[in-house]
């Protein structure tokens, strides 16, 4: 079959808008091979239904196989040697004793280090066989042995000679001229498939790299000084957020199986394609000799891309030992170098006219991603609300700490914590309701602003917003006692990311069964399920009758499970392939049913002729009667019908974003400083929800991670030793059952006329607004702003005293 890359397109009229609100006719140029537009979910049979996830039974019975569970014949176990000091040159590494230990099969010393910034001029550092250690816990070497215990014992026998260098772990300290440098000169940090990276060529002074003026978000506009001079009201404050670690339940890891003819990698990853490509690159293998398999990934949240240092080590060990090697990080390593969300210091100033219209936004922000760059937070301030005068200046600050990684809406979670609090403060100064202020300023006229307006209205109704009291009210529930309740709201925004190479193959087999294949993976969102639902719709079959196969790089390219991009990338490709396979099948069924192919309808598990009652035949029976050879159609994710805002190496960004509005109720004990999230109402959009049950799960999870970030989580490094002091689950506080608030989720169904399914993502925006909504509720409860996260007793009592 020819690829669906044709330039031929035709004008089509598409119905766009939010279901339940006025619908518009929108003209778009659509490639002629694209299927006809789908009606609203209520009129569909498989799409839009809240079905249980296809692999649910595998998960509740323990049969789902994660990388951690892969056990190959003769498989070895690996343990790492980590640097105990935070900054050092490695003078020598002696592995002779380790190699002699019983059961040891291979030792590998890393000579390349991935996932961190690199010197623009490597000659600034004395040449060495070994990478410079820049954080405590940086991996140096790994040992593979018959048993985990032998590997662990042998790893302790690796002798590393260090030449210690001065180090710095604190953000404020690292910004000083007197601070020890983490890198001896200017650096670069390339973007990866997981996003991140830093704008190349920026100035660097000591550990401070920048400013990045946010060219991706449009760059500086107007004249902020003039904008402030013309403002009637100005709010200005400093906000601080903490370092958060991803803490996926399954740690990073791989099972690497190096053979003469092929390298197979089982990977706990968000993107099997990136694991394959990086392995091929580092080991000089053609991509068709590297196979990556990921049946299930135990969470990722942005940090699981590429092969990583652990993958490098596992592959080297497998090659040396001639046996498969399982290398999973332990929980402590996961905290230290498994990725993190950078912290931030944000100085945000917003000016507005008396009527609320924005006149200027200025943000100066610093953050540290340890030895990696990517701490920018200015995206929200730059693009969320139209404003004539905008200046954002973002700086990366290097510290001797583990590298950051993309984390569920990187930058946006920190940025919106500041921005949405500043707007709350602005609305109070203007004497406007916070929702009325957003009505005034969220006026881009795009589908984003229309979605947000509906979300504010719906959310306010569900939350009972109008009934809320004044800040620090001494009436109602706050009249007596130390527990004060308050209510807050904040908006969320993220971009709609598409992975343009996404493809899907749909097959109708001779027995009448149908399968769909794509090299996507599932990190918990329900990828197999949405794939099956979209394909089932075209054939009139039940979703659980579809074979939905993902998690293998031998399938057509699938999207990364990051950037909220799977459903928006995969489902249009899947529907395009299924539609064409169904039409091809109809052509073959025509002669048998004595009907024109166009008259053949697939519905309710049957094939029938349109308008002819009694012509139904069970689907499988009909296919078998047609005696077809296998039908196979492969289709790609065509460009959005209205084009893209921009296109990069691993992504394209659609013209309409995604987002939501969240309302929070909080209780604050003003004596102990304990804060509890009581209730969250989250109203979100994701284009067309393919499976509302699974979409709702993602919103619930986003809110809970948002609460966890806002109230509990914080990585603590000891400045003197450079060690993380809370690198395990019992020490790194997160939301558990008792900290979980009541959460109500409401989803919009919004058709944008962008693709053949009009589905978009949801996972990231669900996490973005929560901290800001809680902070605004904190103010409502206490009359004090909390501008430092997390809202733990120390920060809360400090805020209450201010």
């Amino acid at each position: 079959m020819p690829e669906q890359q044709t330039k031929l397109s035709e004008p089509r009229t598409l119905q766009t808008g939010i279901i339940g609100e006025p619908i518009e006719n929108t003209k778009r140029d659509v490639p002629i091979l694209e299927p006809p537009p789908l009606p609203e979910n209520a009129k569909l049979s498989a799409i839009g239904k809240p079905y249980p996830r296809l692999d649910a039974e595998l998960k509740v019975t323990g049969k789902a196989r994660y990388t951690f569970d892969v056990d190959l014949p003769g498989m070895l176990h690996a343990r790492r040697v980590l640097s105990p000091i935070p900054h050092a040159r490695v003078k020598s590494v002696d592995v002779s004793e380790a190699e002699k230990y019983p059961g040891v099969r291979a030792v590998h010393v890393l000579e390349t280090i991935l996932q961190q910034s690199v010197l623009r001029d490597p000659k600034l550092e004395r040449p060495s066989r070994y990478p410079t250690v820049r954080y405590a816990g940086q991996p140096i070497a790994a040992v593979a042995a018959d048993t985990p215990r032998a590997a662990e014992a042998a790893a302790k026998l690796v002798k590393v000679e260090y030449e210690p260098l001065p180090h710095v772990t604190d953000l404020d300290e690292a910004m000083k001229d007197s601070s020890p440098p983490v890198f001896p000169g200017p650096t670069e940090m390339a973007a990866t498939a997981g996003g991140g990276g830093a704008t190349p060529g920026l100035p660097e002074h000591g550990n401070v790299r920048g400013p990045d003026k946010g060219s991706l978000a449009g760059g500086p506009r107007g004249d902020v000084d003039k904008g402030f001079s013309e403002s009637d009201v100005i709010v200005e404050a400093e906000y601080r957020t903490q370092v958060q670690t991803h803490t996926a339940m399954e740690t990073h890891g791989v099972v690497a199986d190096w053979r003469e003819d092929e390298l197979t990698i089982y990977a706990s990853t968000q993107f099997i394609g990136s694991v394959r490509d990086e392995a091929a690159e580092h080991f000089h293998l053609p991509k068709n000799k590297v196979r990556v398999i990921s049946d299930f990934t135990g969470g990722g949240f942005g940090a699981k891309y590429g092969i990583g240092n652990f993958g490098l080590m596992a592959i080297y060990l497998s090659r040396k030992a001639g046996a498969p090697v399982r290398l999973m990080l332990d929980r402590r390593e996961e905290h230290i170098y498994g990725g993190n969300r950078p912290n931030s210091i944000q100085r945000l100033k917003i000016g507005a006219k008396r009527d609320g219209s924005l006149s200027a936004i200025k943000l100066e922000a610093y953050g540290t991603g340890g030895v990696a760059a990517g701490a920018g937070v200015g995206f929200a301030a730059s693009i969320m609300y139209p404003c004539p005068n905008v200046l954002t200046e973002e700086y990366d600050v290097y510290t001797n700490a583990g590298p950051c990684a993309a984390f569920r809406a990187p930058g946006q979670v920190q940025g919106i914590f500041a921005l949405e609090q500043a707007l709350d403060e602005l609305s109070e100064k203007l004497g406007m309701d916070p929702l009325a202020l957003r009505d005034k300023i969220d006026t881009s006229g795009t589908e984003d602003s229309k979605a947000r307006a509906a979300q504010r209205r719906i959310g306010a109704g569900r939350f009972g917003w109008k009934a809320q009291s004044k800040p620090n009210s001494s009436s109602g529930p706050n009249k007596t006692g130390p527990i004060k309740r308050g209510y807050g709201v904040a908006q969320s925004h993220w971009v709609s990311v598409i992975y343009p190479p996404t493809a899907c193959e749909v097959r109708v087999l001779a027995d009448g069964s149908v399968e769909a294949l794509s090299a996507a993976q599932d990190i918990g969102t329900g990828t197999r399920t949405v794939l099956a639902q979209v394909v089932a719709e075209e054939f009139g079959l039940k979703y659980d009758e579809i074979g939905a196969y993902i998690g293998d790089t031998r399938y057509p390219p699938g999207p990364p499970s990051g950037g909220s991009r799977v459903t928006g990338s995969l489902t249009p490709a899947a529907r395009n392939a299924a539609y064409r396979a169904a039409r091809e099948l109809a052509a073959k069924l025509g002669p048998i049913l004595k009907a024109e192919p166009d008259e053949i309808v697939f519905a309710e598990g049957k094939v029938s002729i349109r308008g002819k009652p009694g012509s139904e035949m069970p689907f499988r029976e009909a296919v078998q009667k047609a005696e077809i050879d296998e039908i196979s159609c492969r289709a790609v994710r065509n460009e959005d019908y209205d084009g893209y805002l921009m296109k990069g190496p691993f992504f394209a960004i659609g013209k309409q974003g995604i987002g939501g509005v969240q309302f929070a109720e909080i209780s604050v004990d003003i004596e102990t400083g304990r804060v509890k999230a009581e209730r969250i109402v989250a109203v979100h959009d994701c284009g067309r929800p393919i499976n509302p049950k699974l979409t709702e799960s993602q919103v619930l999870g986003g809110v809970i991670q948002g609460v966890s970030y806002a109230l509990y989580e914080e990585r603590h490094l000891d400045a003197k030793s450079g060690q993380q002091m809370n690198a395990n689950i019992d020490q790194y506080k997160m939301v558990g059952a008792f900290e979980t608030p009541r959460i109500e989720v409401h989803l919009l169904e919004q058709h944008g006329g962008h693709s053949s399914t009009d589905a978009r993502g949801v996972a990231e925006p669900a996490n973005v607004a929560t901290a800001a909504a809680l902070a605004n509720a904190f103010y409502n409860a206490t009359g004090k702003r909390i501008r430092t996260l997390p809202m733990n007793p120390a920060n809360v009592l400090a805020a209450l005293r201010s």
């Binding site: 509740v60 049969k63 049950k693 809970i704």
Partner: protein, 197 residues
């Protein structure tokens, strides 16, 4: 995939386990003095007896996962802080990563693989499916074991009982609310309290 029903048929695996965990040169490890020489033991797992030769320091979690290929039991922290490794010992929940295999001789071990009876899912498993009380699924087996134990002990738990039952469990995807709903849907108290979940 291999079937996990073993009633004395696992001798091949047991032999392999013994070989793997025996130090190649025991004298190097001072195994005689530290009790690290392999010891034989018989365990009752999911209703079947299995005999193994293991290093005495081996945890129940490692026996299940590495020796018996019962990988439904997960390890999230290996220090009893996340409860992903929850199994039943004589019907009571326990962290298998904090339990030495030698200490559970003569006790009945139930793992996630042994929860369904005669191919019928436990009502809690069914409720988890219906309420989508899972995302990535890595914490799910442990959650299921604790919630199933709860309703086995008290068929009518309240919302606070459910929270207490899983209070030691970590779910990073944030499935708590749906777990509350799933368990409450099986409880006689569900009509009263489910709306608060």
């Amino acid at each position: 995939m291999k079937s996990n029903k073993f009633a004395g048929k696992e001798s091949a695996r047991s032999t392999r386990s013994a070989v793997l965990d025996t130090p190649h040169d025991a004298s190097l490890d001072h195994g005689v003095f530290t009790g690290r020489l392999p010891a034989p033991l018989t365990l009752s797992i999911n209703g079947a007896n299995v005999t193994l030769l293991i290093d005495p320091a081996t945890t129940l979690a490692d026996v299940l996962r590495e020796h018996l290929q019962l990988t439904g039991t997960k390890i999230g922290c290996d220090r009893g802080a996340c409860s992903a490794c929850t199994v039943w010992i004589d019907g009571e929940v326990a962290a298998s990563c904090m339990t030495f295999a030698l200490d559970v001789r003569g006790k009945k071990i139930t793992t996630i693989e042994g929860l369904a009876q005669d191919g019928r899912l436990h009502p809690i498993q069914q409720a988890f499916i219906e309420h989508d009380a899972m995302q990535c699924g890595f914490c799910t087996p442990g959650m299921v074991m604790s919630c199933a134990a709860l309703v086995e002990h008290d068929p009518n738990p309240g919302l606070d009982d459910v929270k207490k039952a899983i209070s030691g469990h970590l779910c990073r995807c944030g499935t708590y609310n749906n777990i509350f709903k799933a368990v409450m849907s099986t409880s006689g108290q569900s009509r009263k309290e489910n709306k608060n979940a």
